[in-house]
Symmetry: C2
Subunit: 197 residues, 2 copies
Amino acid sequence: MKKVQTSDSAKMRILKTASDLFYRQGYRSTGTNEIIKKAGVAKASFFYHFPTKEALALAYLQDLHSHEAENLLKFVNERQKPSDRFLAVIKWIEPWIKSNKLRGCGFLNMVSEVPDKKSPLRKMAKKHYAVLGGLIRQLTQELVNSDPKRYRHLDVSAIADRYVAIVVGAIALSETAQNTWPARQGVEVVNALIPIP
Amino acid sequence: MKKVQTSDSAKMRILKTASDLFYRQGYRSTGTNEIIKKAGVAKASFFYHFPTKEALALAYLQDLHSHEAENLLKFVNERQKPSDRFLAVIKWIEPWIKSNKLRGCGFLNMVSEVPDKKSPLRKMAKKHYAVLGGLIRQLTQELVNSDPKRYRHLDVSAIADRYVAIVVGAIALSETAQNTWPARQGVEVVNALIPIP
DNA sequence: GTCTATATTTGGATAGAC
DNA sequence: GTCTATCCAAATATAGAC
């Protein structure tokens, strides 16, 4: 049985174990019993730190959001040219889904698993993609500002919306097809959103 | 409690009830007990017709695939012009997700719910989108054939792949955002895949 | 093919001691 | 904060009669 660093606090061990299991196996397929065993904690310790399974799932999503935003931003900021920065988001997808072994997006998967539309878990997913949309909008605006003559006619908001949808399609179809081609085709589609340089 | 037509056979009542619940509530969130109650059958009758819950889910997906393929084909075949037929698939998405109350795609949702990559349920989802890709490829080829001079340079396979990914993005993001805008933006993105007429 | 009744495991969550 | 022991409901599935 795979276990987590015993040097961490019980709370951290629970969160790390659950994050791994929730992502790989899904939220509903992962029982609290399994998390408790693999984290090496007592049952009561689990519910001491997280009053419900849903509270733990919320912590998982918050953690996931922070880490993914950080990694993506780092990838974008390795580039200087506005057109490179603009394309960075969709170019990030292929290596990212590969490293995730084609298990897709933890937020999209959570939405599918949680039917209740008012669930805080769904709210987190919505927020995650709203933040991504904000980043893309900003990169699009930077691109337009870098060459106003060429890009003057572009609708920044519409392009950002389309871009997010393309990202989601690349991720979700990669999981269903168990192949990375949607991520690569996504790069071409995003490229077509702006005039040929 | 919502029940199904009692005039149907027990097997049909089970399948119809389960299809509704699996789609709206998700596969794992729906217990066999609930299906049994709402279908108005005995426990043993359930397992007589469907040896496992998974077998029922498989029947659900097969049914869903047939119905969705039929409806989409009808929508496409109401059009004659190759460019209209080509665009019909993405234009179908907005009314379709609305009628589904933004619960997304039963196949994508199933993939998220089932972690096992060898599951027959995942295979069905993969096949569903392979068939959709085939239809789109065919419509793209028709379009190219209708005006070879204009479309000669197009890569039919690449366009079809991109098109499917855009469809998936429109559906999945509509569910997460609980809004139809991704479907409308999808139309614009697909439009940009081919030269302006 | 359909029924009632039951088996068995796992689900999330708690009581009370240390 | 962490532990052992336990509760109860819900999960999937089966036995055996009609």
